[in-house]
């Protein structure tokens, strides 16, 4: 009986984990282990393994390089050296921390559910919860695969959604420059550096010197331009400096055997800042596929020189059949900056100390394609029951937000279920009371405590921006509930968050 219960808890935990509530998920896995200490799944998941759930094949890569949109509106602070790690625990500092083994805690991914944003989060990033697709074939996790179970996802500053991205060469888990990817296995990429590549421009203490790279466009078809414009900012991390390779000239009509041997042939135009899909030379696979317990890497900051993107000059081919195979052997690394100090050089960068990583003993345990959690066929009612049980457990643990997410999930499965509705009402009421208690007296008129130029640096979504715009020293909290155009609970959540973060005054 307790085993069944534990299994249910594990499932509920997986839901939570998928929806971004890692803390809630962890609690459930712990409970499951208490009930059934031999539950391998719980152990595995608690240790940080990614949720082995199937997802749809990745979408074809965009034709344009991905550019983190956040940078359009949030340029770096004036005077900030783009090569310096920012003081905040933003993405780049996180990268730095990971690379040096001093990674600061990373906030969990924030998906947007029907409640829009979680308690404690204002970003409300419109990230759908990945839905399991039982028909999709499982894909083995290889270091360069684009499987969502890999942690190698690119995140924008405000968008914590897993993207179909790959790890570019020469980065640790946290420092992986994001590149958009083709479907897995289409991993043929070569690159070359022109012999006249400029010398490294800058060397900063604690950072590996990087050569301004102007990667050559490799055109397999001959259609693509021979060269892409040189990147304006160098990558933060570079691979170890093997001997410089000569530029590769590949006439479209006569591709060299080394490329034609790799099927399916594909025209790849590597933009000036593209990274390869194939494992980068001299990059140990462990870093390309970091411990699954590690949170996904943050957004790559274009302005800081991380913008690694590429574009295919022709439509991508269909995904290659998934075959378990060994990762390609490391090739000689293209030297970006001869004699430059690499990020992997122990002198400048000790790298990740596996012993220091939580659950390091399992860090290498990739889940094989047949280790997926299988759902026994059962009725919708049973599924709803299981989710509700998980929600009740979370409520017992005072995790109302996590519970609410599960209830919302249950409601999408069974919208008319009276139990679900009743539970939702109860939970909403509790949450609303919690939020409103943070606001103080509702008849009080809140005031904005920050200046305009401080406000724009906050991480708010447009809904929070709307609520904040209504606070002009004339409307009370009560009035804000009326003018927000949102449900009371959503408004209360946003207001409570604004109060808690010191953006507005309390009643």
């Amino acid at each position: 009986m307790s085993k069944d219960r534990a299994a249910q808890l594990v499932e509920a935990g997986i839901w939570l984990k998928l929806s971004g509530d890692r803390e809630g998920a962890r609690k459930l896995f712990e409970r499951a282990l208490k009930l059934d200490p031999g539950n391998e799944k719980a152990t595995q998941l608690l240790a940080g393994a990614s949720v082995p759930i199937e997802v749809e094949p990745p979408a074809p890569p965009p034709t344009e390089p991905l550019v983190p949109p956040v940078r359009k509106s949030l340029p770096p602070a004036p005077g900030t050296n783009p090569f310096e790690p920012p003081a905040s625990t933003g993405p780049s500092s996180l990268d730095w921390g990971l690379a040096t083994g001093n990674a600061p805690p990373r906030p969990p991914a924030v998906p947007e559910l029907s409640l829009d944003s979680d308690w404690g989060r204002l970003t409300g990033a419109a990230t759908p919860v990945p839905q399991p697709n039982p028909e999709a074939p499982a894909k083995p996790e290889v270091p360069w695969s684009t499987s969502p179970s890999s942690s190698n996802v690119a995140l924008d500053d405000g968008d914590r959604s897993p993207r179909q991205t790959m790890v570019a060469w020469g980065g640790s888990a946290g420092s992986s420059p994001a590149i958009s990817s083709e479907p897995p296995r289409n991993t043929l990429v070569g690159w070359a550096v022109p012999p006249d590549a400029p010398a490294p421009r800058t060397t900063l203490p604690g950072w590996s010197p990087v050569a301004p790279q102007s990667p050559q466009v490799i055109s397999l078809s001959g259609d693509a331009p021979a060269e892409s414009p040189p990147r304006s900012t160098p990558p933060l991390f570079s691979a170890a400096p093997p001997p410089l390779e000569p530029p590769v000239e590949l006439p479209g009509d006569a591709p060299p055997a080394v490329f034609s041997a790799l099927e399916p042939p594909r025209v790849v135009e590597i933009g000036g800042e593209a990274g390869p899909e194939t494992p980068p030379p001299s990059t140990p696979p462990i870093f390309a596929s970091p411990p699954t317990a590690a949170p996904p890497p943050p957004a790559i900051d274009d302005s800081l020189g991380f913008a690694w993107s590429w574009s295919a000059s022709s439509p991508p081919p269909a995904p290659a059949p998934v075959v378990d195979e060994e990762p390609p052997a490391p090739r000689p690394s293209p030297t970006l900056a001869p004699r430059a100090e690499s990020a992997w050089d122990a002198r400048s960068n000790p790298g990740i100390k596996l012993e220091a990583v939580v659950g390091h003993d399992r860090a290498l345990d990739l889940i094989s394609s047949d280790s997926k959690i299988t759902h026994p066929p059962r009725s919708q009612k049973d599924e709803v029951k299981a989710i509700l049980r998980g929600a009740r457990d979370l409520l017992e643990l005072d995790d109302h937000t996590g519970a609410m997410e599960l209830i919302v999930k249950a409601q999408t499965i069974a919208p008319d279920d009276p139990d679900v509705q009743a539970m939702r009402e109860r939970s909403e009421k509790t949450l609303l009371n919690m939020f409103e208690s943070k606001l103080g007296k509702l008849e009080t008129i809140p005031r904005v405590l920050l200046k305009d130029d401080e406000i724009i640096w906050l991480n708010l979504d447009h809904r929070a921006g709307f609520v904040l715009a209504q606070i002009d020293g004339t409307v009370s909290f009560d009035d804000l509930f009326s003018v927000s155009g949102m449900s009371r609970i959503d408004t209360a959540r946003i207001l409570a968050q604004l109060v808690e973060e010191g953006v507005i005054s309390r009643g």
Binding site: I455, N459, H462
Partner: protein, 613 residues
């Protein structure tokens, strides 16, 4: 000492904004609202939380809650549902209109259908409460202004709204007349003047003739769909188009973004009346569809750009001016003065255009947003004060007549006739052997019968058989001091008579009005009790604080003795009771606690005084 006079107010019940004013120490002043603003948006809404909102707060959620927000109800008040203007308006209104029992208009808000006088009454009630807060006592009497082209039905509906709001409407006066009164015209200016009224939602241009205390609107025209909102919309479109170009996001499709754009556009427009350039900053205006950080909108709008964007709108106002002056057979040079009314006339480009067309500087000195309300206040003061300056007489706003053969109108009482009045005219039969005549009572200025409003009709029968024109019928129109119109027809030969009494209807029957008034009385009573409880709670909390402060002093003073310990224990208990009572809604519990604590404070103070503290 002479008793203080009962306060009386003048109200400009506008399409977009409303203002209340009064005369204090001989000077007309606008009464500032409790929210701190002189203008109250004429917007009523039922919020998603079920709360009825009026004014600024309702306006602020107008776009995010469009179906339950009623604005510009003035365009519809007193009209029939089947009227062409109503049917036109239906196409552009986001809120739901329903037809009432008497072809009147009802607006659906939530699960209740409201008549337009009821909705206007909510705005009037807010203004009344503002005035009461200003005077510190109840306000019951008011003058309300309406556009010069309002017919009897619309005026009556406005009066009904006043009654529902708990106001005795002393008089309904024309807006251009009120504006002229605010400038003291009638005393110091006689002759023709023009009133250029560009408000938030409508544009009216009126030409008046003032002489011997008579304010005669000789021509009026304009556009009921041209106003400040159209100017805002051009700025909104400009901002949205630019943002779409830059980010490929259509802000106008997002209601939250649109609401912010509207607020920002209006603010920028107002600022550009005094500044050459303004910044529009809307942080976190939109979140890209694929996620990511929210985007900011930051733009600079110059006055020049605004003028370029709105040039067509300004030109339209001048076209209307040309039409009305032509209709009034008046040339711009014939005008003695020119008055600007409405917030939009503060825009420098509008002032320039007016000056260019009328070839004179418009009158300045009275705020164009407030001039109508101030004029109404002047008139209200004149009506209630014996030392009145100019007292307007009640006049018929539009001509009254009967339909005659050929589909034309014979006017018996021309517009602006002072009431009470009575007119009799003789009519003849138009056909041979005609034994009946149909008397159709019409109101309006059109020569063709069907273009006027039919107030009522009746048939006089039993006329003798005779050739056409031989039978004579006396038709008498009589308007009493209450504005009731009686029409009678009498066969001169036989003395046979038929009559009808016409009462202007604002759409509500007397029974409906009574029911609404009863409901309002109950609500008012509840609201008053609630207000009183609220005030008493504040009083109680002040006393609780006082007792809490006195207790340590008394404890210190009586330390070491048994003296006062009993009183202290009782005070503590009273404080506990008061704490509970301060959250109660029953008036008695709160007042009981106030009494107890008042006694306690008095006792403590007395003891402390005696023992020398």
């Amino acid at each position: 000492m002479a008793a203080e006079r009962e306060p009386v107010i003048g109200i400009d019940l506008g399409t977009t904004n409303s203002v209340v004013a009064t005369v204090q120490s001989g000077t007309p002043v606008v009464i500032r609202g409790r929210s701190g603003s002189n203008l109250l948006p004429s917007v009523v809404a039922l919020s998603k939380t079920g709360k009825m909102l009026v004014g600024q707060i309702a306006k602020r959620q107008a776009i995010t809650n469009p179906t339950d927000t009623v604005y510009a109800s003035k365009r519809l008040i007193g009209r029939k549902f089947s009227a062409a203007q109503t049917q036109d308006a239906l196409k552009g209104l986001p809120y739901t209109l329903e037809v009432g029992d008497h072809d009147d208009i009802r607006v659906k808000l939530g699960d209740k259908a409201y008549s337009l006088p009821e909705l206007s009454a909510m705005v009037l009630r807010e203004l009344k409460l503002d005035a009461e807060a200003h005077f510190g006592r109840p306000v019951k009497k008011a003058i309300i202004t309406v556009p010069a082209y309002f017919n009897d039905g619309q005026r009556q509906a406005t009066k009904d709204a006043g009654r529902i709001a708990g106001l005795e409407v002393l008089r309904i006066i024309n807006e251009p007349t009120a504006a002229a009164l605010a400038y003291g015209f009638g005393k110091n200016v006689n002759g023709k003047i023009a009133v250029f009224d560009l408000g938030g939602g409508t544009f009216d241009i009126s030409v008046m003739e003032i002489g011997n205390g008579v304010f005669d609107v000789i021509a009026t025209g304009g556009d009921t769909f041209l106003g400040g909102e159209d100017f805002d919309n051009t700025v909104i479109n400009w901002l949205a188009a630019d943002f779409q170009r830059e980010h490929n996001i259509q802000l106008k499709a997002d209601r939250m973004a649109l609401q912010r754009l509207k607020d920002a556009a209006e603010k920028a427009k107002i600022e550009l009346s005094t500044a050459k350039e303004t910044q529009i900053n809307l942080p976190f205006i939109s979140t890209p569809q694929g996620g990511g950080s929210a985007l900011h909108l930051q733009k600079t709008l110059s006055r020049e750009k605004l003028e370029e964007l709105t040039a067509e709108l300004v030109a339209r106002t001048i076209t209307h001016c040309e039409q009305v002056l032509t209709e009034a057979k008046v040339k711009p040079v014939d005008l003695r003065e020119m008055i600007l009314v409405g917030g939009m006339t503060r825009m420098p480009r509008v002032q320039e255009a007016v000056k260019q067309y009328f070839r004179r500087d418009p009158c300045k000195g009275v705020h164009p947003d407030e001039v109508v309300a101030l004029g109404a206040a002047v008139q209200a003061e004149a009506l209630t004060n014996e030392a009145a300056d100019v007292v307007l007489l009640d006049v018929t706003p539009q001509s009254l007549g009967v339909a005659i053969a050929g589909g034309y109108v014979r006017r018996l009482i021309p517009k602006n006739t002072t009431v009470p009045t009575s007119v009799t005219e003789v009519f003849n039969t138009s056909r041979d052997n005609q034994t009946t005549v149909k008397i159709m009572v019409l109101q309006g200025e059109a020569d063709v019968a069907h273009q006027n409003e039919l107030l009522g009709e009746f048939i006089l029968t039993g006329l003798r058989l005779a050739k056409r024109g031989e039978v004579e019928v006396d038709v008498t129109f009589e308007i009493n001091s209450e504005g009731l119109v009686s029409v009678s027809a009498r066969d001169k030969e036989t003395g046979q008579q038929q009559s009808i009494q016409v009462t202007a209807s604002g759409g509500l029957t007397q029974d409906e009005l009574k029911r609404i008034l009863d409901e309002q009385a109950d609500l008012m009573l509840e609201a008053r009790v609630e207000e009183e409880v609220k005030a008493k709670r504040v009083e109680l909390k002040a006393l609780m604080n006082e007792v809490s402060e006195l207790m340590p002093q008394l404890q210190k003073a009586t330390q070491g003795s048994e003296f006062g310990q009993d009183a202290l224990a009782k005070a503590k208990q009273a404080l506990e009771t008061a704490k509970v009572a301060s959250e109660a809604t029953e008036l008695k519990r709160v007042t009981d606690s106030i009494d107890t604590l008042t006694r306690t404070v008095s006792l403590f103070k007395g003891v402390l005084q005696r023992i020398g503290h």
